[in-house]
């Protein structure tokens, strides 16, 4: 019942949310960005997320129930922030009766890069993973609006990426994640036979770093 209602609206209007770096949200109609908001600071996701969604909806002149699809950026990114956007995406979708799909956050950077550099060939996207490591993915270009990922997403030391790809043949970029681009990729994926990724599990790439210990002695 919910599915058929959503599918009639599918693609018309979507809300994209990503908190893998800063907080970025966008409202799109048929793959065109109507409103977008980007907060770059990496620590204020849970404060910003509610008002940010409300603002882009207002700016786009849409009511929540007019949103047919919620596009969630599933990372990779620092976990605590990343989860805020995914929690918000899940509950917004339930509240608005919308469908939920996911896009790898790094793909949005690739899309923006290729749109700005249409003649570029290979690209490597890296973002800060803390602990002297980076999240990264490599791309060969964009086909039908979808960045073609050739490696990743992975987490490695910056200098170890060369073990996986030929860095000399890959360009790099300073661009950041943008919700509008995520929404465009999700829209493009909806037009392909592979369809859209409905698994919105975060891409953590690292296990929680707790180690079972036997307990230490308190007396010498």
């Amino acid at each position: 019942m919910k599915t058929s209602a959503a599918s009639t609206r599918m693609g018309e209007h979507s809300l994209a949310i990503d908190t893998s770096a800063g907080t970025t949200v966008a409202v799109l109609s048929m793959g065109t960005v109507l409103a977008e908001l980007n907060y770059l600071e990496p620590m204020t996701h849970s404060e910003r997320i509610g008002s940010a969604i409300q603002k882009v909806l207002n700016d786009a002149g849409l009511k929540p129930r007019q949103i047919g699809t919620v596009v969630a950026g599933v990372g990779p990114g620092p976990f605590t922030g990343l989860r805020v956007g995914l929690a918000a995406a899940r509950y917004f979708a339930i509240g608005a009766g919308a469908e939920l799909v996911s896009v790898c956050s790094l793909d949005s950077i690739a899309l923006d890069f290729y749109q700005a550099n249409p003649n570029a060939k290979n690209l490597v996207v890296t973002t800060d993973a803390r602990r002297k490591e980076v999240f990264w993915a490599a791309y060969s270009g964009v086909i039908n609006g979808i960045p073609q990922r050739t490696h990743g997403p992975s987490v490695n030391k910056q200098e170890d990426i060369a073990n996986f790809i030929d860095l000399a043949s890959h360009e790099s970029t300073e661009l950041g994640v943008r919700a509008g681009a995520l929404g465009q990729i999700a829209f493009a994926q909806g037009l392909t036979p592979q369809g859209r990724n409905k698994d919105i599990t975060p891409i953590y790439l690292r296990e929680p770093d707790a180690v079972p210990s036997k307990g230490k002695k308190v007396s010498g």
């Binding site: 929540p64 976990f79 929690a87 007396s219």
Partner: protein
């Protein structure tokens, strides 16, 4: 400080006038004006009394047939400001306006009185106009403020509560003071091999559990999201990364459904849980909240307006101590039930383990605080010493003696708080309440001291969404405005901040 709110009569006029002239230097009402206000049929004046002393008053006017009410005046004695007396008075007036079927309340406030404006905003008042030079002879403008009582007309709001402050993902639904659903998903099993809650694991589990727990709660209550009047969410205290999952979800749900959101205090929620059990919270009460994350002793004079932290643990929480000692004894996680099980066969007087912060010098500075770190170390030393000498020792005796030490301190300090403050009630909350010995000693000690003991059912004592929903419902029924969407998750939120 204990404040009683009582209706005013003309007999109170002399005392009121003393405070009136002291509070409003240049624009106090003449005595005759106040006399006719008090005598009028369409007005409702209340006093705030501390013992016999008048420390504040306020008045409401509501003409029959009109659906508008006006706040006529409010004053709190200068030395008693900032203690929540203004909120108590406003609470009573907005409730009275609701009972009289008013839909809106108006008031005027001096443009230069930002403290009063802040109080009114707490009750949803917004500025709708300005009267130039209204206050004479000072020539100060008046702001006209108004609040809508639309939601407050709903005497029994349906509230959905979301709790993610530690390792339980909880969604609860209440209608007024009635429990409709209380669904909890715990990640406890995932922490077992680590012997304690791992914040990252808890936060991951919250995200996974959000949707199924919400679905199940709605199904249990036989409601859809359209039926919900408001959303309440824990924004602290607790684990930051865990709190943020619930906060992010709740805000998005609020925007998606257009329902107002209330950010509430987790610990005060534990106190509110008693309402779910017996339909009301009797105050004043001492509350002892004991879990894996908290060990807090509260004095609750009023759930929404006057909660005071008397003391808390200065190191480990009591539940944490149970977990750590369980590991020392080779028992599994969570430690509380395991120690309870083993201790049954043991002698609680076998070993005299230290009682933290109970020595006279500690009692001066830390009368209501707790410390369990030294106790945990003492148990570990005891066990290690026996092991190093290859001596047999009774795990049952160690478990029973350790448990006795924890329970002894918890209940002694709680009972002495009851006695010190003359409060004849003790409410227990938090997961450690499951401990059989804790309940037993609490019962004995309360009976011996003429204290009424309240222990809600375990599903309401452990972290849950229903207690968050019930606290949200109390705020709504008291006429509180929703929280702004910009509140943050605050891991150290003080107990005095009931709503953010």
């Amino acid at each position: 400080m204990s404040i009683v709110i009582k209706q005013a009569t003309v007999l109170d006029l002399p005392e009121i006038m003393k405070l009136e002239t002291a509070s409003f230097a240049n624009d106090a009402w003449p005595e005759e004006t106040f006399r006719s206000e008090l005598a009028a049929k369409h007005t409702f004046y209340i006093l705030a009394l501390e013992g016999e002393e008048l420390v504040g008053y306020a008045g409401l006017s509501k003409l029959p047939g009109s659906d508008q009410a006006d706040i006529q005046t409010i004053a709190v004695r200068e030395d008693k400001r900032g203690l929540g007396i203004g909120r108590l008075l406003m609470n009573t007036l907005t409730q009275q306006a609701t009972d009289l079927d008013a839909k809106e309340i108006f008031l005027e406030v001096r443009a230069d009185n930002s403290v009063a404006q802040k109080l009114y905003k707490l009750f949803g008042f917004k500025q709708i106009g300005t009267r130039k030079k209204y206050y004479q002879p000072d020539g100060v403008d008046a702001f006209i403020m108004k609040t809508d009582l639309k939601l407050k007309k709903n005497k029994e709001p349906i509230v959905l509560g979301i709790e993610t402050s530690c390792d339980e993902t909880g969604v609860g639904i209440v209608r007024g003071n009635t429990l409709l659903a209380n669904i909890i998903s715990s990640s406890m099993d995932k922490h077992a091999i680590f012997g304690g809650v791992v914040p990252e694991i808890a936060a991951r589990a919250h995200l996974e559990a959000l949707t199924p727990v919400l679905d199940e709660a709605l199904e249990k209550a036989n409601l859809t999201l359209d039926d919900i009047d408001a959303i309440a969410v824990t924004n602290g205290p607790g684990l930051a990364g865990a709190l943020m999952v619930g906060v992010g979800a709740a805000k998005a749900l609020s925007v998606a459904t257009g329902k107002p959101i209330y950010a509430v205090n987790h610990l005060v929620g534990h106190v509110g849980a008693d309402i779910l059990d017996r339909g009301e919270l009797q105050t004043p009460t001492i509350a002892l909240l004991v879990s894996g994350g908290h060990t807090s002793l509260l004095l609750v004079r009023d759930l929404l307006n006057d909660v005071e932290l008397l003391g808390e643990t200065i190191d480990d929480a009591a539940g944490e101590a149970f977990d750590k000692v369980a590991r020392v004894l080779g028992l599994s996680y969570p430690g509380g039930p395991e120690i309870d099980r083993v201790a049954k066969e043991g002698n609680p007087a076998a070993i005299r383990f230290p009682r933290g912060l109970t020595l006279p010098k500690d009692m001066e500075k830390h009368r209501y605080d707790f410390s369990f770190s030294g106790l945990k170390t003492a148990v570990a030393r005891h066990v290690e010493l026996a092991e190093s000498k290859n001596e047999e020792f009774s795990i049952a005796d160690v478990a029973a003696s350790f448990r006795e030490a924890v329970v002894d301190v918890l209940i002694k300090k709680a009972v002495s708080a009851c006695k010190d403050f003359g409060v004849p009630r003790l409410l227990l909350g938090g997961g450690v309440v499951a401990n059989a010995r804790l309940r037993e000693v609490a019962k004995e000690q309360c009976e011996a001291n003429g204290i009424e003991l309240r222990i809600p059912p375990f599903s309401l004592c452990t972290d849950n969404g229903a207690m968050i929903a019930i606290l949200g419902a109390q705020l709504i029924m008291a006429g509180r405005a929703p929280s702004s969407l910009d509140f943050s998750a605050e891991s150290t939120l003080p107990v005095t901040t009931v709503q953010s």
